[in-house]
């Protein structure tokens, strides 16, 4: 009988949900047993069900969701010791029907091929799953130009946002003549709500290191830098561990695998400025300067860090590389449509049933991603919009749900693929509020260089604030649109050039909602606080005093068993009363 393996999801999402105590519990219960092994693994993508525990027993893998200490104890007792599966807690089961099985079936896991399956701190587990085979093949069987050709043929495009063909980027860096070149991994992941890169770094760091080594070989770099945001301590820890192990095994360092190729990597922690994800700002930051974009040309491929040719790729882009080299470009380009090949990892969030990470083949319609993979909208509410690409992206309405996820189709709508953030909104989300949210983010993050981006976004935000307070005018809308276009065309870097996208797309697809705020002074989603009023239905109120007791500003008065009344002047529109009223007597207008 083979050993039973217990895997606890211990990526940031797992730890945040309480994976730590669950791991400790299992560890204490099972420590010392020869027939069971307890491991920490990365994120498998079902973040909404964390903490997750997978039991691999007799060739059958069963994953339990929302595990706590009590359930952990039960799992040990019933499943591990007696072979009894606790059906009601199962989310995934590779031998029988389980709720999440179809979700995984809809996915193609290339980038996430190892996350959630292997122990990221153990290089042997990576090696056991084809790890460093791509590097070996590249170094021993291919010339740098052949590697580049393979990547070109695969159709891989940058997953960091711009979608630039990776092979072409490498070719430019390869052709640049210099005594020194740098290969940088962009692990700055600054989009609010995005965590694809984090999951890969935490759950499968070697795939990124291997991708970098292959790339470095292709362009002729000897120094690698991973620019990782300091807010990702676990990722940094796993990367450091992986770097140590890779050096020990000779996958990094001098004369790798005896081929004469030398390459090593170090980590540079970023201070958490969104703009430092932009290539030229990142270069400045690595050089020790303030992270500010500069105009191109010169392009980093010719003049990057300290004036040396520099190639920068995103984490997800790099995680694809070893797989492509090992399996061949043809296998990769099998997936996808048009000029978008392979897969894309999305961070699913918002008003959906199953938030988390999913890797889908390019070309899958948005509708399928949202309704099949993400499980649709909770509480039978109506879909309203999907925001793609974070603060640089756009909001798309129901009519565009059949848009396939590929760079060209998404760009045509005014949104962008971006790094893969996907936030779903239902009818309780206010579009003006959403635009405000993203704009206030970029407005704070602008590096301050261009007047358009620095002051223009601030001015757009003010206009949105006026509108959401019911003080907007039609001239405001015109000015908003004028500014948006000018900021987009006139800014220096990608931040400013995309900052107006959330506003432009919502103005395009949801203009009536803006007009409702302006003309009718109403917020149809009942979100904008100055435009809504809370009141208590005299017919329904039973005088239980719950609302009055819970109101944080004492805006509600009333005696026991008598009608309660809300003072609109004091009310701060927090909605607490609606939540607590047992009979649904509180209404919003």
């Amino acid at each position: 009988m083979s050993r039973t393996i217990v895997k606890v999801g211990m990526a940031s999402c797992g730890i945040a949900a309480g994976g730590g105590p669950v791991f400790d519990k299992l560890h204490s219960l099972l420590d010392g047993r020869d027939d069971v092994e307890v491991k920490k693994v990365g994120c498998i993508g079902f973040c909404y069900k964390e903490p997750l525990v997978e039991i691999e027993k007799d060739g059958v893998c069963v994953t339990y969701g929302e595990v706590d200490s009590a359930l952990a104890e039960e799992i040990v007792e019933k499943h591990i010791d007696q072979g009894q599966i606790l059906k009601e807690h199962v989310v995934l089961n590779n031998s029988a029907e389980a709720p999440e099985n179809p979700r995984l079936e809809n996915q193609v896991r290339i980038v996430l091929r190892n996350t959630g399956l292997i122990d990221p701190e153990n290089i042997d587990e990576y090696i056991a799953r084809e790890g460093y085979r791509g590097l070996e093949k590249a170094l021993k069987e291919m010339t740098p130009m052949q590697v580049i050709q393979e990547i070109l043929d695969s159709g891989l495009r940058g997953r960091g946002g711009a979608g630039f063909p990776t092979g072409l980027k490498w070719k430019f860096a390869h052709l640049a003549k210099a005594d020194k070149k740098y290969f940088v991994c962009n692990a700055d992941e600054g989009d609010p709500g995005a965590f694809m890169d984090r999951s890969v770094l935490e759950g499968d760091p070697h795939s990124v290191l291997e991708g970098m080594a292959v790339g470095a070989y292709a362009i002729g770099a000897d120094e690698g830098i991973i620019y990782c945001r300091a807010e990702y301590p676990l990722a940094i820890k796993h990367l450091n561990r992986a770097l140590e192990q890779a050096r020990e095994r000779g996958f990094l360092g001098d004369n790798i695998m005896g081929t004469g190729f030398s390459f090593d990597i170090h980590i540079k922690e970023g201070a958490g400025a969104f703009v430092c994800g932009e290539e030229t700002a990142m270069i400045a930051s690595i050089e020790g300067k303030r992270g500010m974009p500069r105009p191109r040309p010169p392009f980093p491929a010719n003049s990057g860090i300290f004036g040396k040719p520099t190639n920068i790729n995103n984490v997800e882009t790099l995680a694809n590389i070893p797989w492509i080299i090992t399996h061949g470009s043809g296998e990769f380009s099998k997936y996808g449509i048009g000029k978008s090949r392979g897969t894309k990892v999305f961070a699913l969030a918002g008003k959906i049933n199953k938030g988390g990470l999913a890797e889908v083949p390019m070309g899958m319609p948005l509708r399928d991603v949202i309704f099949d993979v993400a499980g649709g909208i909770p509480n039978n509410r109506k879909f309203k919009a999907v925001q793609l690409g974070g603060p640089s992206g756009g909001c798309l309405p129901e009519e565009l749900l059949d848009t396939p996820v590929d760079y060209e189709s998404i760009n045509a709508t005014g949104a962008i693929m971006g790094s893969g953030g996907m936030v779903v909104m239902d009818e309780t989300t206010c579009i003006v509020d959403v635009a405000k949210f993203f704009l206030s983010f970029v407005q704070k993050e602008s590096c301050g260089k261009c007047p358009f981006c620095r002051i223009g976004t601030k001015r757009m935000l003010e206009i949105l604030e006026r509108i959401s307070e019911g003080n907007g005018s039609h001239e405001d809308l015109d000015l908003l649109a004028e500014l948006a276009v000018q900021i987009k065309d006139g800014s220096l870097c990608g931040l400013g050039q995309t900052a107006p996208n959330p506003v432009l797309t919502t103005l395009k697809y949801f203009k009536e909602e803006y007009l409702a705020h302006i003309d009718d002074k109403k917020c149809p989603a009942k979100v904008c606080t100055t435009l809504i009023h809370y009141s208590i239905d005299p017919e329904k109120c039973i005088g239980c005093t719950k609302c009055a007791r819970n109101c944080p500003v004492d805006a509600i008065t009333g005696e026991v068993k008598k009608l309660h009344v809300i003072n609109d002047d004091i009310c701060v529109r927090c909605g607490k009363c609606i939540e607590v009223c047992p009979v649904g007597a509180v209404t919003v207008e």
Binding site: C450, P451, F452, G456
Partner: protein, 665 residues
């Protein structure tokens, strides 16, 4: 560099490959509005005012950063671009405090000019009041952040030209702002050298020079004169703004030159101040402890008779200023050497200049020029400072040294008896007592040319070895000889040997930059510096002193004046303690009323121009000395000395220079 052809606004324009679109436009007189761009500074493309449309390219391109390409068709004046620019101006105006009527720069502000040009007479946004600081902590400058448009010119000039790196940007988004050091006030800054370059380049009323504001806008001035700064031997090129007889503002004008149009604190503040000082308007004669006015006739008569007597006894002396022009130095030479043949004739700080003169002599005799243009510091891979304090002696060379070290990546080494003037950026710093200086240089010469082991007792051995290694490796080392250092002529010779041994060869001469403070020191060395020191030693009956009154006289010269029995002081200002020493005071024109030439350590003979027409009834040097000699009864022997003649010429290239033996002490 190949020629390229573009069509800009329908006009055929020629440029050179490597030019930006803006450069081609400017060469061809096509105007494109700019704000953050400034000639000489790295373009950063931040203000977006210079955007243009290039046919076949959907994007708007900033002309200041986009390389021009042959065949480009560029449009700079479409309605769309006009609207963009107007929007930028509107955003900037409403973004901070740009209520021009309360700004000292109104009428003199690039932002305001552009706004007028774009018909921006109102803004569509409420004014933002962010309440940034008005930093008034500096005695010299004021920095009202509420008027800043973040063009970054100040940051760039301070880093790229001054090398001080005092200014940077802090924070993000709407709160982004200029910051001093790590957040200190400008008045407390540890890195600021008070040069005012930032104020000169600021296009708005943010950084202003207290002494210049409200004294007349640039275009309200009666005259704008190009000249040079007479305060040190670098002779920075300046533009002086003259209004009602005063110099109201001084700016560096060599924007594209190596100094980038910077000036030092002295140039910036002392020059305008010099037109406000109390002048000596008529000749005066001492009467007890005061002076009485006298006629020219009487004053020169008295001076002549005292001089004549002293000459007969061999007890006459003359000290003249190294701030005199070439032409003036020739006159002094004719009078005191060729005509009177004074034994006691010298220049202020004569000992230092004599050190240079004697120390360099053997090489000059070889036909080699023993120094190089100062700006070559910025292309050196190693600068070695020998007991110098460049920031004090020739301030802009300190900028060159900082820029070369911090930005250009050159190494920096220091040997001094005092504190290291470039603490924090020096690779090797060696402390040497004055007595050991010569030995250290000698040991270095041997180590570099003969690979001898290096050891000088009491001096850090590892540092010396490291320095010797650096000197051997360097391709273009530059040596900075401080004034202190130069008072020992032997040390100068030996250090010149070191330069030769280290292969410090430049196109124009050996890679040495002498820290000679006085503007025309090089010419003075050639004309008026005496062979032997006498000041303070000789017994003088009558001493003639010519001082420009611009910079303080050295203490040794003042001592000589106080010891002389009779002193003729020839100077423009009522400055103390100089005038206290006088028995006869003869007024002379101030530097801004004179013209002539200086031999600068930038390797050029540069021209000083009259800035302000003389208002007083003054006599020129020539007239005074013909009267004086006439009254003395001697015939003025006008020899045609040309002080600059052989200074910048060399008959032998620097790589042919040979070391000369120096007697060890």
């Amino acid at each position: 560099m190949s020629e390229i052809n573009l069509i800009i606004d329908g006009k055929e324009c020629k440029g050179a490959s490597g030019d930006t679109i803006l450069q081609v436009a400017q060469k061809n007189d096509v105007y494109i509005p700019t704000l953050c761009y400034l000639k000489g500074l790295t373009p950063i493309g931040s203000c977006r005012m210079c955007v243009v449309e290039v046919e076949g390219n959907a994007k708007l391109l900033t002309s200041c950063t986009t390389p021009a390409q042959d065949g480009m068709v560029v449009n700079t004046k479409t309605q769309k671009l006009f609207n963009y620019r107007k929007q930028i101006l509107e955003l900037l105006f409403a973004g901070r405090n740009h209520f021009c009527m309360f700004c000292s720069q109104s009428g003199d502000c690039e932002l305001q000019t552009l706004a007028i040009e774009h018909g921006m007479d109102s803004v569509r946004y409420p004014y933002l009041y962010h309440d940034f600081e008005n930093d008034a902590t500096s005695e010299d400058l004021q920095m009202d952040h509420n008027r800043c448009i973040l063009c970054g010119r100040c940051i760039r000039v301070c880093a790229e030209k001054v090398g001080a790196h005092t200014l940077d940007l802090e924070k993000r988004g709407w709160s982004a702002n200029i910051i001093t050091d790590l957040g200190s006030k400008l008045g407390d800054s540890e890195t600021c050298v008070h040069c005012g370059a930032c104020a000169q380049v600021c296009p708005t009323g943010t950084i202003t020079i207290r002494d210049f504001v409200y004294r007349g806008r640039r275009n309200d001035c009666d005259d704008v004169v190009e000249s040079i700064c007479p305060l040190c031997s670098l002779g920075c090129e300046i533009k002086g703004y003259v209004r009602t007889g005063s110099l109201t503002r001084v700016e560096g004008s060599n924007l594209e030159g190596p100094d980038g149009g910077q000036l030092c604190h002295k140039g910036r503040w002392w020059l305008p101040e010099s037109t406000e000082r109390e002048r000596l308007s008529v000749p005066m004669i001492r009467e007890g402890s005061t002076f009485r006015e006298a006629s020219w006739e009487e004053a020169l008569g008295l001076a002549a008779s005292k001089m004549k007597d002293a000459c007969q006894k061999g007890k006459a002396g003359a000290i003249v200023s190294g701030l005199s022009t070439d032409e003036e130095l020739s006159v002094f030479h004719s009078v005191f050497k060729d005509t009177l043949d004074l034994k006691y004739f010298d220049c202020f700080i004569g000992d230092i200049l004599r050190g240079f003169k004697k120390g360099f002599e053997p090489f000059v005799e070889q036909g080699v020029k023993p120094f190089t243009a100062a700006h070559n510091i910025t292309s050196s891979d190693l600068v070695l400072i020998l007991d110098a304090d460049p920031q004090d002696e020739v301030p802009v060379t300190a900028s060159y040294i900082r820029v070369n070290t911090i930005i250009n990546g050159g190494k920096l080494a220091n040997i001094s008896s005092a504190t290291n003037p470039f603490k924090g950026i020096t690779d090797v710093d060696i402390k040497v007592s004055p007595e050991k200086m010569f030995n250290v240089i000698t040991a270095l010469v041997k180590a570099v040319s003969e690979n001898e082991p290096i050891e000088v007792s009491g001096v850090d051995k590892t540092a010396l070895e490291e320095l010797a290694g650096m000197l051997k490796e360097a391709n273009r080392p530059v040596f900075i000889f401080g004034g202190n250092f130069a008072s020992d002529a032997k040390a100068v010779t030996q250090a010149t040997n070191l330069a030769i041994a280290s292969g410090s060869i430049f196109e124009d001469g050996l890679g040495i930059v002498p820290m000679v403070r006085h503007a025309n020191s090089l010419a003075a060395i050639n004309t008026v510096v005496g062979e032997e020191p006498w000041i303070g030693k000789a017994d003088i009956d009558c001493l003639y002193v010519s001082s420009t009154g611009l910079i303080p006289e050295d203490s040794q010269s003042l001592e000589a004046m106080s010891m002389a029995r009779f002193c003729i002081i020839h100077t423009p200002y009522m400055v103390h303690p100089l005038v206290n020493m006088a028995d006869v005071l003869i007024p002379s024109p101030a530097w801004y009323e004179r013209s002539g030439h200086f031999c600068t350590i930038e390797g050029e003979r540069r021209k000083l121009n009259t800035m302000v027409k003389p208002q007083l009834n003054l006599k020129g040097l020539g007239e005074i000395f013909s009267t004086l000699t006439e009254k003395m009864g001697v015939k003025l022997n006008r020899s045609e000395v040309q002080p600059c003649e052989n200074i910048f010429n060399s008959t032998v290239p620097a790589d042919k220079a040979c070391q000369v033996a120096v007697e060890e002490v």
